[in-house]
């Protein structure tokens, strides 16, 4: 009798704990935690990705980052400077009120002015004047022709005027103001633990396939994989490269992969006559060799991109030839990744007057990009072989980026750095302008140009492309500009990462180039 009772109790306990999560619920293991539930607080991939479930944009992007209608049903260019957007009718906010042009106008007032924002959306909202024609028609005007207007709008999540008026970031975090139009309603945010959302039954588009979704930030890669294997989560993003080979053999797990719109590259100090982290072999001061194009070419040739891709990235990357992978808008079809050529590199170094090489310290972040430290270490080996005695220093990402952009004296501090760049416009002007455009705060060019490369001809081409509304023409100009920058070795591209998501068998997630993890892209098989 007693035994029977005990067995029964045991069975209940087992059933309670082992019962699989219902198909209606989905748990997602995130690689990094969003810093707020305020869609305008911090322009950061984890925030933008997560909040896209609650809020929506006028213009959305498909998985390959092509523009598609979102809250705006359609748009047309009236003349070069004025765009007219037709808003979707019948869209309701989660609190039941109707979505109108007023909400968009409110959003564009709020987005650039959120207090204490670490990186704001001002770059996407500035220079645009909004004019309401009627409740569902809006005109955007810019001072000059601006072909990227729709791209800019695809970055800004629209919030409700009714709940957003006077709301602070904390009000979004608590859920009070977190009212959107998206397929999911915000339920709760517990920093360091989880974010919960529930299905929006009144969604205007395809209704979500899941009743409830829970996002759990699991920062450590192996822990994320372990959580997936144990069934604690159904989907994980950013599967560590080291585990991909093994997970492929795992029958309970499926992987989805897609090329990122990110490029991992090296930026070189090209503005100082003497650069702080390059010395002669005997430790004496020398002139900055990186200003010599032959040295830059030699460094590019010394990098064995295939080895980085196959050994460090374990096959989940593509060797890079330019700023964006081949399928994106405005890339050059002519450029191929620079081939590994050790002899050629040594010869170029000798020609440039460094037959014995020099000493260099390479800097990079530890833990910002997939395998960043390992890439730096591998490239240091390759440079050392070519005669450039390279030591490395990796820093916590926050420290690294602030010193790399503005160290002592407000200038970029390092000589040679590994960085990554994700073109948030999904086309090459989004990389050219900040990375190799002449550093100029007023014009907004070269905002991430940590090498301070400057070429007036290139600047002119970027400006021209930005004023060309015709897509075909603009793509041609951009491709030419890319060729100039790469020929000059303004940056040394290394590779384009391939992003990997892991799901339990029976689920499938559509990989996105912008690295966003969208439950809307999850289908049951």
């Amino acid at each position: 009798m007693l035994r029977a009772v005990r067995n029964w109790c045991l069975a209940v306990v087992v059933a309670l704990f082992v019962a699989p999560a219902t198909a209606q619920e989905l748990k997602i293991g995130l690689a990094s935690e969003p810093s707020a539930m305020d869609p305008h607080f911090h322009n950061l991939t984890p925030n933008n990705s997560l909040l896209s479930h609650v809020f929506e944009r006028l213009v959305e992007t498909d998985p390959s980052n092509k523009l598609i209608p979102g809250l705006a049903e359609s748009w047309k260019i009236l003349d070069g400077n004025i765009w007219e957007f037709k808003l979707r009718a019948g869209v309701k906010w989660h609190d039941g009120s109707a979505f109108t042009a007023d909400d968009v106008i409110f959003t564009f007032e709020r987005a650039p002015n959120v207090p204490n924002s670490p990186s704001s959306f001002a770059t996407s909202t500035k220079g645009k004047t909004l004019k309401k024609i009627d409740d569902l028609t809006l005109q955007f005007s810019t001072p000059g022709p601006y072909p990227l207007l729709a791209n800019d709008l695809s970055n800004v999540l629209i919030v409700s005027r009714k709940t957003g008026e006077g709301a602070k970031t904390e009000d979004y975090n608590s859920g009070k103001a977190a009212v959107g139009t998206g397929p999911f309603k915000f339920a709760s945010f517990t920093p360091g633990d989880k974010i919960e959302m529930v299905r929006n039954p009144d969604y205007w588009g395809t209704k979500a396939a899941f009743e409830k979704i829970t996002f759990k930030p699991i920062k450590a890669g192996p822990a994320r994989v372990a959580a997936l294997l144990a069934g604690d989560v159904d989907i994980i993003e950013d599967v560590p490269t080291a585990d991909i080979e093994r997970l492929k053999k795992e029958p309970r797990i499926a992987l989805s992969q897609g090329v990122s719109r990110r490029v991992i590259y090296f930026h070189l100090d090209q503005f100082r006559d003497e650069t702080p982290f390059i010395k002669a072999k005997d430790g004496g001061a020398i002139k900055n060799p990186l200003r010599d194009k032959r040295v830059r070419q030699a460094l590019s040739k010394a990098i064995n991109r295939d080895a980085i891709v196959s050994r460090v990235m374990e096959g989940v990357a593509l060797p890079a030839s330019q700023f964006l992978a081949d399928q994106f808008f405005g890339v050059s079809a002519k450029l191929k990744p620079v081939a590994f050529d050790l002899e050629g590199a040594r010869k170029l170094l000798a020609e440039a007057g460094y037959p014995n090489g020099f000493k260099m310290t390479m800097h990079g972040p530890n833990g910002r990009y997939t395998n960043d430290v390992k890439i730096i270490e591998a490239v240091a080996q390759m440079f050392t072989r070519a005669g450039i005695e390279t030591s490395i220093e990796t820093l916590p990402p926050a420290v690294f980026f602030s010193r790399a952009s503005a160290g002592a004296g407000g200038l970029p501090e390092f000589s040679f750095i590994l960085v990554g760049w994700s073109a948030d416009t999904g086309e090459t002007s989004g990389s050219l302008k900040p990375l190799v455009g002449t550093f100029d705060k007023d014009k907004g060019t070269g905002s991430a140009n940590r090498g301070r490369y400057s070429n007036p001809a290139l600047d002119a081409m970027i400006a021209e492309a930005q004023a060309t509304v015709d897509d075909g023409k603009r793509a041609g100009i951009l491709a030419q500009a890319v060729e100039i920058a790469i020929d000059d070795v303004a940056i040394i591209p290394s590779h384009y990462p391939i992003n990997t998501w892991g799901t339990r068998k029976g689920l499938k997630i559509t990989p996105r180039a912008d690295e966003y993890t969208f439950v809307m892209g999850v289908t049951k098989e």
């Binding site: 080291a242 093994r246 050994r311 430290v373 591998a378 050392t384 490395i392």
Partner: protein, 310 residues
């Protein structure tokens, strides 16, 4: 005459004293009574000489980037390198370093850090502890409260904070470990010195009018040595483990010059993909090193503690 004299003159200074054993010899005999301790001591000698001779016995210099090739990364034990120059008996790590070489070099760093920080902490702790015991009164209270405060901090947390402030490098790790450990020595020495200070020989020395410093360092000091040596062995093992922990957390040493902890950390992410060797072997070496130092320390305690004498 001269022939007869010579042996006599030679014999006098060298006269063996069979009845009275030298204390050192007695100590050695007692120490080696335990087979385990003798074995541990032998192993310790072996490990130290391996570490000291690293540049001459390792097939590769794992810190010379020109000798390490990323194309050879993560090779399983027993594989030949792509250039054919080496056979990696225990495999390679994620950057292509030969694990045998990297472990011996890593051991070198671990032992250096352990010994250096142990020694410096011992000197500082001894001086502070004896000063406290001898001075008494307010000075003693002040010093001992500082020691208590120090001991109440978790060692790893304090070391992490120090490294964050000081930056990377072997010297900084040693500074951090000394800061974490001196208090243990200070407390031990003060306790022993308090007991010693009440003994007759110290009173005798005082009556002779010897200076405080002389009494402290010439008379009390040597008599505090026994417990100090025991604490030193335990703390050295602790220092090695702590250095490994710091390196594992990625705050200790440069990535291109891994110690054992960093090697374990490098291999950690490959554990799930069955590339066990990158973490396993350095972990094993670290374990063995710490265990044998502790074994030697245990036996030292047994021999040096009069209460445990048979």
């Amino acid at each position: 005459m001269s022939i007869a004299e010579t042996p006599a003159t030679v014999e006098t200074p060298n006269k063996p004293k069979p009845a009275v054993e030298s204390p050192l010899r007695r100590f050695a005999a007692e120490f080696l009574e335990s087979r385990v301790a003798a074995g541990a001591l032998l192993m310790l000698g072996l490990i130290i000489s391996l570490a000291a001779l690293a540049p001459w016995i390792t097939p590769q210099n794992p810190y010379d980037l020109a000798q390490v090739d990323v194309l050879d990364s993560r090779l399983p034990p027993g594989t030949k390198s792509s250039s054919g120059a080496y056979t990696h008996w225990l495999g390679t790590d994620g950057a292509g370093r030969d694990l045998v070489s990297a472990m011996i070099y890593g051991l070198r760093i671990s032992l250096l850090v352990g010994a250096a920080s142990g020694l410096i902490a011992m000197v500082i702790g001894t001086v502070v502890g004896m000063t406290a015991a001898y001075a008494g009164g307010r000075t003693e209270t002040l010093i001992m409260r500082v020691v208590d405060l120090q001991l109440s901090f978790p060692a790893i947390l304090l070391a992490l904070m120090l490294i964050a402030v000081l930056g990377k490098g072997i010297d900084k790790i040693i500074i951090a470990l000394v800061t974490v450990q001196w208090a243990y020595y200070a407390r031990t020495v003060r306790g022993t010195a308090l007991v010693e200070a009440r003994k007759e020989y110290v009173e005798a020395a005082r009556c002779l009018g010897l200076s405080s410093a002389r009494i402290l360092f010439k008379h009390i000091g040597p008599n505090c040595m026994a417990p100090l040596i025991v604490v030193a062995t335990v703390q050295t093992a602790h220092a090695i483990a702590l250095e490994a922990t710091l390196s594992f957390l990625g705050v200790g040493l440069p990535q291109t010059e891994p110690s054992l902890g960093l090697l374990i950390s490098n291999g950690f992410e490959y554990m799930l993909s069955h590339k066990y060797w990158i973490s396993f072997f350095p972990g094993l070496v670290l374990l063995i090193t710490i265990v044998i130092i502790n074994l030697v320390g245990d036996q030292l305690r047994d021999v040096l503690n009069p209460r445990l004498k048979k």
